[in-house]
């Protein structure tokens, strides 16, 4: 997939916007998809974490979205992708004009993303528990090709970690010290059964570097994202408002 591929709606690079959007534009961009003026915590739980990654951390742009040395961001929690699409549109990966079609027959923007339809989207997700294993494989693949520069990021939800496939990935990545791998856990306490010892413990026992952070604080997110973690994969647990609040 490259950013010049024409999808079903004929997305072409020439259509990408030139002017800069800010985080304050996200609610308006999201409203193009949802029709709502304001969005509750569930719809925006990932907004700050995703924005700070694309704005300040990930070394990827619409121009380098097909480059083998780009950083990879894998949205594992593919449910509720409005903040993700809004960020991709704000950063020029997608035309803003696509957003109103969200979920419609003629639109490449599904309620779960499809990488084969969208430039800049690294994985097709929706079924929970697939992004982290795919990220492990991506990190291994880049290492096997001698590409030391790219980082691989997977975003999961706290309830998504109920899926056992994540445990397989967390344990293995920790055991082999896969330090190009990063995981952002959006913790809105939506898991029905929670976890003894909390989320951080689950990564720490597997040998990960872990930082817990206020998932609405952009500077704290940036600090957590960029914390050195030599020889270990890195998890950032971004706490946001509980889903039920």
């Amino acid at each position: 997939m490259t950013n010049t591929t024409a999808g079903p709606t004929g997305i072409q690079r020439a259509e990408l916007p030139e002017h800069a959007f800010t985080f304050e534009d996200l609610p308006r961009l999201m409203s193009l998809m949802t029709g709502a003026e304001k969005h509750g915590p569930a719809a925006t739980s990932t907004a700050d974490a995703v924005w700070v990654l694309y704005d300040r951390v990930l070394r990827v742009s619409p121009e380098t979205a097909g480059s083998p040395d780009r950083d990879r961001f894998l949205l594992s929690k593919g449910h509720g992708p409005m903040a993700y699409y809004a960020t991709l549109a704000a950063k020029g990966f997608l035309p803003v004009g696509l957003l109103p079609g969200f979920g419609s027959w003629d639109s490449p923007l599904g309620h779960h993303p499809d990488r084969t339809l969208l430039p800049g989207v690294e994985i097709s997700s929706g079924s929970l528990g697939h992004g982290l294993p795919l990220a492990v494989g991506s990190a291994l693949g880049l290492r096997a090709q001698g590409r030391r520069r790219p980082s691989v990021w997977a975003l999961v939800g706290d309830a998504e970690l109920d899926e056992g496939s994540n445990d397989e990935a967390i344990e293995f990545a920790g055991a082999v010290g896969l330090d190009s791998l990063h995981t952002v856990v959006i913790d809105n306490r939506s898991a029905s059964h929670g976890r003894p010892g909390g989320l951080a413990d689950r990564f720490e026992v597997a040998g990960w570097s872990v930082v817990e952070v206020d998932g609405r604080d952009h500077d704290a997110l940036y600090d957590a994202y960029t914390r050195p973690h030599p020889g270990r994969p890195h998890a950032v647990i971004a706490r946001v408002e509980p889903k039920t609040s």
Binding site: S124, S127, H130, P133, A135, G137, G141, A144, Q145, E168
Partner: protein, 306 residues
């Protein structure tokens, strides 16, 4: 003679030296055989432990970065257990790789049903774009594996401990026509390791014999050629996995030709018996005597035979 699986290990270990895109993913099973290759290519021979969802997920991730992943374990744990990963982490991503299984049907009957996967090919039939190879000899396995590694397709290679006595000049392009019978004779499609038993079963019986080692895509052309000119055809499938797996493929190939079909394969009902492969072949009616009985009874009932 080596087994198909030993050949797989040797050939793949060798090709790892030559093809930098190739990577092997294992979940403990088979890891011993790849020890030397892993020492030479630690980044391209990955043993994830007993984690089969991760086995396929890692394969998908490797493919997304441009590698050619080869994922190997027993069929039960490669196709059945992580089926959603096969569906989503490969197919739905638009990614590809090579799944290489062992022990699919009745290679280890004493191991019981947990280590049998009679439905693997039928399961893959629910997905788009899988090529399925069922070699009948280690030499054929090598030919088909080498080809699979060179392509960018999604390929399943079903290795077995069962083998025919001699290899045939197979290719991934289609079936071989080994024998031509009369215009009334049944067309028997023998798959992989069941060829020898099928040939023995048909000694002195008027039959056309096609040999299939690549069953998906199903070679419509070879089957249609075998029945060309007939107003009605009799077709027999002899498959080393779930009975009827290729029935729909035969129906598609002969959609405009009146035909009868006898589908032979393993029974859906669990045997709940241990023993040796020969015991299970007999129980499923897939030994030469069982095949001869089924096929001659079917052909004898044919209006074409009157």
């Amino acid at each position: 003679m080596d087994t198909m699986r030993e050949r797989f290990t040797a050939v793949t270990s060798h090709l790892l030296d030559e093809d930098p895109r190739l990577a092997v993913v294992l979940a403990e099973i088979g890891a011993d055989g790849f020890r030397d290759a892993a020492a030479r290519h630690p980044d391209r021979v990955v043993n994830v432990g007993i984690r089969e969802q991760l086995l396929v997920g890692v394969g998908g991730g490797l493919a997304l970065t441009g590698m050619r992943p080869v994922m190997h374990t027993f069929a039960s744990f490669l196709v059945e257990r992580p089926f959603e990963q096969v569906k989503l982490d490969l197919g739905h991503q638009g990614a590809a790789g090579v799944l290489v299984s062992a022990n699919a049907s009745y290679d280890w009957p004493a191991g019981g049903f947990t280590h049998m996967s009679p439905g693997d090919v039928a399961l893959l039939d629910t997905l788009e774009g899988w090529t399925v190879h069922v070699p009948g000899h280690p030499d054929e396995a090598e030919t088909l594996l080498r080809h699979a590694y060179r392509t960018d397709e999604r390929v399943y290679v079903r290795l077995s401990l069962q083998s025919n006595g001699t290899p045939r000049p197979v290719s991934p392009d289609g079936f071989l026509t080994l024998r031509r019978g009369s215009a009334q004779a049944p067309v028997v499609v023998a798959v992989g390791p069941l060829l020898d038993a099928t040939v023995a079963a048909l000694a002195g019986v008027d039959a056309t014999v096609l040999y299939a080692t690549t069953v998906r895509p199903f070679d419509h052309r070879a089957l249609r050629a075998a029945v060309a000119g007939r107003t009605a055809a009799d077709v027999v499938l002899v498959e080393p996995y779930l009975r009827g797996t290729s029935s729909a493929a035969v129906a598609e190939a002969l959609h405009d030709t009146p035909h009868r079909l006898l589908a032979l394969g393993t029974a859906r009902e669990e045997l709940r018996r241990y023993g040796q492969p020969a015991d299970h072949l007999r129980a499923h009616g897939l030994d030469a005597a069982g095949l001869r009985k089924s096929i001659t009874a079917f052909a004898g009932r044919s209006p074409a035979a009157d």
